[in-house]
């Protein structure tokens, strides 16, 4: 375990009856970093998080937060936004937030003051006494996010945080996450939004069928999935070639992965020779989206 590990998972295995969901999974999340936990549906991400938080008892392995198995008494250090969202729908917004604040160790008055301030910030100051089931889905998501971060936790675990958010609220949510990151919080983010991962995450892990397929910094993972890629903007589709593989191609935007030893300049020359007008040509590393598609297959990702 690295000395600065806040989350440590080692040889984790999870069986449900005869079904093995996670096999020998090991990784660390360092204090202060933003960690992307990636995987297709059913790959075992939520199971891992539930086991980390003591909701599931692991079949084997060690899962610790700050050096010890998570206990609810550590709740003051944790903010958890589960994939399955929900609050006490028949209770007023403020009462629910204060309840969770108290469970997380805040005093009633502090929880109340924090909640009112948060509701003001996210544009819901008039919803404090309204029952949660009278709020729209997006408004309920905001309240849930508030409940998650209300104790200024050192560790934020966000399982599909943008699920159900419209673009405006998604931007607001991500700004709050960035704020927490700036404040020094460690963030574990389960998401399918590769833009967010590339923008926010320091390191990532890719899980498939309960097994880690890639783990490291974003750059390390990109490098591990092949050498150079080129993003091309052209007037028509890029034809197949033995010198590269077409990773993605839509409406004149393509990403190709070069074969070993092939230089980008040679490809550009080939395209010009073939009479294909090229308006953009950017060598770089394989995008996370391409890697994701490569690992899980286009059908599975859809």
């Amino acid at each position: 375990m690295a000395s600065d590990s806040l989350v440590h998972i080692e040889n984790f295995r999870m069986d449900f009856g005869p079904l093995t969901v996670i096999r020998d999974l090991s990784f660390d999340v360092h204090a202060g970093e933003t960690f992307g936990f990636l995987g297709s549906n059913g790959s075992g991400k939520t199971t891992t998080i539930r086991a980390l938080l003591g909701i599931y008892i692991p079949t084997a392995g060690t899962l610790t937060i700050n050096g010890r198995q998570f206990q609810p008494s550590q709740t003051g250090e944790l903010g958890y936004l589960p994939e399955e969202r929900g609050l006490y729908k028949k209770e007023p917004t403020l009462d629910t937030m204060v309840y969770f604040g108290k469970l997380k160790g805040m005093s009633a008055s502090a929880a109340r003051a924090w909640s009112l301030n948060y509701l003001e910030r996210v544009g819901l100051p008039d919803k404090a006494k309204i029952r949660l089931d009278k709020l729209s889905g997006g408004e309920q998501q905001k309240v849930q996010l508030g409940v998650t971060i209300m104790n200024d936790p050192r560790l934020l675990i966000l399982d599909e945080p943008t699920k159900g958010f419209d673009p405006v609220n998604r931007r607001m949510l991500m700004s709050i996450v960035e704020e927490r990151k700036q404040a020094g919080a460690t963030i574990v983010m389960v998401t399918h939004q590769m833009e967010d991962v590339e923008r926010l995450c320091d390191r990532i892990i890719l899980l498939k069928d309960g097994v880690a397929r890639a783990y490291g910094t974003v750059t390390q993972v990109q490098e591990s999935f092949g050498g150079t890629t080129v993003r091309i903007e052209s007037e028509r589709d890029i034809p197949p070639s033995s010198k590269y593989a077409v990773l993605t191609q839509t409406h004149g935007h393509a990403e190709i992965s070069l074969a070993t030893g092939v230089e980008p300049a040679a490809i550009l020359q080939d395209l010009v020779t073939q009479g294909i007008g090229v308006s953009g040509f950017t060598p770089g590393r394989k995008s996370l989206e391409s890697i994701f598609v490569e690992v899980y297959g286009a059908k599975e990702v859809d």
């Binding site: 009856g17 599931y56 609810p72 709740t75 006490y88 009462d95 409940v147």
Partner: protein, 404 residues
């Protein structure tokens, strides 16, 4: 277990329930309905009694023939009666409308009925003939009793006082059974009134998808303990809300002399019976709470849980169906089985405790069994809650959950 979080859960659950209009509507509806029905019944009874009295005092012309020699002519005359000798004539006089009724008293009215012929006054109104005919006979008979004491004995209520002995000591009688029996009523009300709330206590978290967030702030056991304490407080509040209006009305009516006041001095608070009563009540309540919570945790929705819920409630009240055997033959096999099977034990053992047929060592065994079964069910409930509550849409695989 973090006590402050248990307190937080108790406070949240109690306050939100007591703030709910449905809770108070439900609490007051039952006693108000009882009071309404009781009031209507009293009014009907008073009205009926008055009608009968009115009928008895209704003056109408009648004829009578007396083969018994008991009827006093002066009394009959005062009641507008005229003696005749020919019964057939009396019937004819009624048919012709000359008189309203004719009574034919037989030679021995204790063996043969008094024959009445009368003008039809409707199903209820015709009752006056019977009242006047029998009233005349009784009034006449009373004049033939010389002793006022004998007359009082024949017409009044004879009271008795009984003292029974148990092992040479005066036994405590019905007064000793009333207080321990109250625990049965309390248990019954708690389970019936709170049963559905117990079942939905954790289903709400599951249906609302709150469980995962909750379980990172409080352990399942602490959450369940908090919810059970809240259920007890809510249940007792509801019982008070249900009983108080009736008790207040009874007190007011007793003060007004409309009903006879209860003699509280007959109540006996036997320490042993009281102790067993409290322990059986708590043990039974906790066991059913843990059982219903476990069912709720294993099922995805209230609808899915209702079938098993009904079975559990039937188990709780099943001893009522063998109440006569419990009363008359407490040593029978069925009563013994019901006494020691944890889910039928509360009512059976509490009934035997009230009746004085539960030996102390039986009581100890039952209490131990109840609390042991409760501990086991709580453990299972906590485990099922922990696993089942994140199985949002399907029934829990018990083998997987309990095998962990």
């Amino acid at each position: 277990m973090k006590n402050s979080n248990v307190r937080t859960v108790v406070g949240f659950e109690v306050v939100r329930t007591l703030k709910s209009k449905a809770f108070w509507i439900g609490s007051f509806t039952a006693p108000l309905l009882i009071l309404a029905v009781y009031g209507i019944a009293i009014a009907s009874s008073m009205s009926g009694t008055q009608t009968i009295e009115d009928q008895a005092q209704t003056a109408f012309a009648f004829e009578y023939a007396d083969a018994s020699g008991i009827v006093q002519d002066n009394i009959a005359t005062a009641m507008q009666g005229t003696k005749i000798s020919d019964p057939a004539q009396g019937v004819e006089d009624v048919k012709s409308g000359k008189v309203e009724a004719f009574f034919a008293y037989p030679a021995d009215p204790t063996k043969d009925p008094v024959t009445i012929a009368a003008a039809d006054a409707g199903l209820i109104g015709s009752g006056k003939y019977d009242a006047v005919a029998t009233g005349l006979l009784k009034a006449s008979a009373a004049t033939q009793v010389q002793s006022p004491t004998v007359l009082a004995l024949l017409t009044g209520v004879i009271s008795t006082t009984t003292t029974t002995y148990d092992n040479g000591e005066v036994s405590q009688g019905i007064g000793a059974a009333i207080v321990p029996a109250a625990f049965i009523v309390l248990f019954f009300m708690l389970v019936i009134v709170q049963g559905n709330r117990m079942l939905t206590a954790t289903l709400e978290e599951k249906e609302n998808r709150v469980t995962e967030m909750i379980l990172t702030t409080i352990s399942p056991t602490s959450l369940l303990v908090g919810k059970v304490i809240a259920l007890i407080i809510i249940g007792l509040t509801q019982i008070v809300a249900m009983v108080a209006p009736v008790a207040i009305l009874a007190f007011i009516l007793a003060k007004m002399g409309k009903i006879s006041s209860f003699d509280w001095s007959i109540l006996v608070f036997d320490p042993t019976k009281m102790t067993f009563g409290v322990l059986l009540l708590l043990g039974g309540f906790f066991l059913f709470t843990a059982t219903l919570v476990a069912i709720g945790a294993a099922m995805p929705t209230v609808k899915d849980a209702q079938g098993i819920f009904s079975a559990v409630i039937i188990l709780a009240v099943m001893p009522i169906y063998v109440a006569m055997i419990v009363l008359t033959n407490p040593d029978s096999l069925i009563v013994q089985v019901f006494t020691f099977f944890p889910w039928t034990a509360p009512i059976t053992a509490m009934a035997r405790n009230a009746l004085g047929t539960l030996p102390w060592w039986h009581g100890v065994i039952v209490v131990v069994l109840l609390f042991a079964a409760t501990a086991l069910m709580f453990r299972i409930a906590a485990r099922l809650f922990q696993y089942g509550s994140v199985e949002y849409t399907k029934k829990l695989n018990l083998k997987v959950a309990l095998g962990k």
